[in-house]
């Protein structure tokens, strides 16, 4: 079987080189047969990648411990779902998954109906092939997934208990779909530059790709956040860890891109900016992979120290230089027919301010992430850049972003009149100030939460105003009933209203984040029957017991929860002891409501059954997850069933016969 595995990898590697050469020669000689051959090779790579994946799943599922990868990340007693999820637990397997997605996307573009007979297709697929070659180079010669052990060990090393969580099934997959998805708009952008297609064709063609990639990146980050919140030792839902930052940066730049492309489509402005943003987003996915796999920065989420980072760094440098060269060589063409700003107060300029702030936020995250390396290189002093730094630097930037998000929808294109501003913002602004007053009256005196809650409400209200305005206008024209007018209004402008739903999701997430900063925490040792009070809760420790979970042992505490004297039932924080893993894991008991989470950890216990508990009250955290659902619904709404039609590109270059 290892022969099939290795052959599928090596063959795909050579096939990817062949496909690239066939596309380049086909374009040079304008020979359709070579292009078709390249496309065939692309499909071949996808089939081979599917074989490699299926084989690896089979090896993991049936615990073929003679394979080094299976031995390292699996064991016979592991539940089948985690045996399979172990595919992306290590470097080789996760890169195989990455390569599979890349091969799948390449085949989808090569055989896309919309791209049929489009002369850009060979260029796009050849750029994707460059990526595929790189990943297969790594899989063939640096970290091979199908290496055999010298003998067959009796048992595998097992999967780290922290990874035995539903998050492990979804988080890496969604994140990789997002990361890899960004390679597609990047390839379209570079191809459009090469063929001198200077209109918004590549943007329109990749709109769905980009939103889908962005949605997956969002989902990956949110699932990761939820997993880290429930998993002890990962610092809660967001700890500004270098690896978390690595996935946050491309998310930010793609968010900026999704906004600025609207200006290019509508006003033919910001062409260089958009190209730069997509190049930057793609480069940041490679930079993130470099961080995760190089070990240059300490992270609880990293794969450990390997030499893989250097390969990614070299590849990233190559792709960035290539992109910059192509961009600069077409600079004079891009500058032609570019639209201009007409007013400081217009939708265009507010979008650009939004971009500016998002890019500022990205830079701040990047700078904070690499500053330990910079400091050590310049002064020889090591520094830690942790949560307090990021919270201090990012809070004003992100608040400014929320404010821009609030005013952006209601500002007119080209230029906004004073009347327009007054009509749209007066009522939301007054209500937000009233809300700020209520927050102060509730006893919150710190400036940040008051300003934050006020801006969040302003943002929600301006969006509601936009929905109301649109519905009223439609009803006035069509005489439909209000609900019908609202639904039809949204369906007719999916992208716009989908975007607003996403904004509302962001507002809910921000509400949860600000609220969660008012957490309360206590740690106490209790005897059986003793109680502890925290906020309005009373927790009574009633029993400490043990049960079996497969081959593992679980020690758990039974705790009666009361709030304001009302019985809320029992919760059971527990610790699990594994047969094949030295360290026990701690399972948190969480009682979650929209108001707050009661978060209980069983810390330790004595022979006389005294037990120590850490108890936290985390207010409003559930809104982060609710907001995330809303955000994903908005993204799906924006791309679902929209009419994009057949877009015809215009080329400034020579006529091309191959497609």
């Amino acid at each position: 079987m290892h022969i099939i595995g290795n052959v599928s990898i090596y063959l795909a590697f050579f096939l990817s080189i062949y496909a690239f050469v066939a596309f380049v020669l086909g374009i040079k000689k304008q020979d359709q047969r070579l292009i078709d051959s390249g496309k065939g090779a692309t499909m071949g790579i996808f089939i081979l990648a599917s074989i490699s994946m299926t084989l690896m799943f089979y090896l993991l599922g049936t615990s073929q411990l003679q394979f080094q990868y299976v031995y390292q990340y699996s064991s016979t007693d592991l539940p089948i779902i985690y045996k399979l999820a172990a595919l992306w637990a290590g470097n080789a397997g996760s890169l195989l998954l990455w390569t599979f997605f890349l091969a799948m996307y390449s085949a989808m573009v090569a055989f896309s109906k919309k791209m049929k007979r489009n002369p850009m297709t060979p260029y796009i697929v050849s750029i994707l092939m460059l990526n595929v070659i790189f990943f297969y180079l790594i899989l063939s010669f640096v970290t091979q997934p199908f290496t055999l052990m010298d003998g067959v060990p009796p048992e595998g090393r097992g999967l780290n208990p922290m990874l035995q969580d539903p998050g492990m099934i979804f988080h890496p997959v969604t994140l990789y779909l997002g990361y890899v998805g960004l390679a597609v708009p990047f390839a379209f952008a570079i191809a459009s530059l090469i063929v001198k297609n200077m209109d918004a064709f590549w943007i329109q063609m990749t709109r769905r790709w980009t939103i889908i990639a962005w949605a997956f990146l969002t989902l990956g980050n949110v699932i990761g956040g939820y997993w880290a919140y429930m998993e002890l030792g990962w610092g809660g839902y967001w700890a500004w860890d270098p690896v978390e930052n690595a996935s946050f940066m491309p998310w930010l730049t793609v968010t900026a891109y999704l906004h600025s492309v609207m200006i290019q489509e509508r006003k033919n402005m910001l062409k260089i900016w958009n190209l730069s943003l997509i190049i930057l987003s793609y480069s940041l996915t490679l930079f993130g992979t470099f961080l995760v796999r190089s070990g240059v920065l300490t992270s609880v989420h990293a794969f450990g120290e390997t030499n893989l980072g250097a390969y990614f760094l070299v590849f990233m440098a190559f792709m960035v230089l290539l992109s910059m060269y192509v961009l600069m060589s077409r600079y004079h063409l891009i500058k032609q027919d570019t639209g201009q700003f007409e007013s400081f107060v217009s939708k265009e300029s507010s979008f650009l301010v939004n971009n500016l702030i998002i890019l500022g936020a990205t830079f701040a995250v990047f700078w904070g992430t690499v500053f330990p390396l910079v400091s050590e290189a310049v002064t020889g002093n090591k520094v830690t850049v942790g949560v307090p730094f990021f919270n201090t630097v990012m809070s004003p930037i992100l608040l400014a972003l929320l404010f821009i998000m609030a005013i952006c929808p209601l500002i007119a294109w080209q230029r906004s009149s004073l009347k327009n501003i007054r009509d749209n913002f007066l009522i939301p602004a007054i209500i937000s100030l009233v809300i700020a007053g209520i927050v102060v009256a509730m006893g919150i005196r710190d400036a940040y939460p008051v300003i934050s809650f006020s801006i969040i409400s302003f943002m929600v209200l301006t969006h509601l105003v936009e929905f109301i305005r649109g519905t009223k206008a439609r009803r006035k024209v069509t005489k439909e009933a209000y609900p019908v007018a609202l639904v039809r209004l949204m369906i007719r402008s999916r992208r716009r209203y989908g975007g607003y739903i996403v904004h509302l999701g962001i507002a809910l997430i921000a509400f949860g984040i600000v609220g969660s900063n008012f957490d309360i925490e206590r740690m106490e040792t209790l005897r059986i029957g003793e109680s502890m009070d925290i906020d309005r809760y009373t927790l009574t420790y009633e029993a400490l017991d043990q049960r079996s979970d497969g081959v593992n042992d679980v020690v758990y505490a039974n705790i009666l929860v009361e709030k304001d004297g009302k019985n809320l039932g029992y919760i059971q924080p527990e610790r699990m002891f594994y047969l094949n893993w030295e360290e026990p894991s701690t399972e948190v008991a969480v009682r979650s409501t929209l108001r707050e989470d009661l978060y209980v950890v069983l810390s330790a216990w004595e022979e006389d059954q005294r037990a120590t508990f850490q108890v936290k009250i985390n207010p409003l955290v559930k809104w982060i997850w609710v907001g995330s659902y809303v955000l994903i619904i908005g993204a799906i709404f924006a791309i679902w069933g929209g009419r994009y039609g057949q877009v015809s590109p215009r080329y400034a270059g020579p006529e091309r016969k191959v497609h």
Partner: protein
Amino acid sequence: MMVKKLKMLPVLFALMFLVMPTFHGEEMHDTNSSEVKEIASKLSMEGHSEHELATCSTKNRYYEEIAEMLNEGYTDEEVLAEYEAMYGEQGLRAPKTTGFSIFAWTIPFLVLGVGSTVFFMRVKRHVIDEGTKEENGTNARTEESQDDPEDEVIRAIIEEEKRKHF
């Protein structure tokens, strides 16, 4: 009068004894004390700052040490200085605001400031150009906003009808 005062002395002493433990108790810090948490939140704790107090022995040790130092009369700054002396700047959870580390705090805002200035200058140039054109009557147009919702709805409906029929 003096005798009366002397008679009161034992009572005063008794009161002092009663009150002393209370004062002493208020000053005592443990791992649940907010001051301990506040100081701990500024320390990197050898990379354990993001770990949970419930399960991390290193973090626990730090909390206990901080509580002990506070109980010995150290001020917040003295506790932090003690750890900085032991581990250097790396012992803190965020860079200091002095020396080279000041760049950690200032560069992001500097970059944002430069970006904003470039943006402002660019828009200003174009807006002034447009203004001049308007004054010369070469680019006259109304001040009315382009975002009238009724216009937009009508445009969307027309677009939809066009798609249906053509």
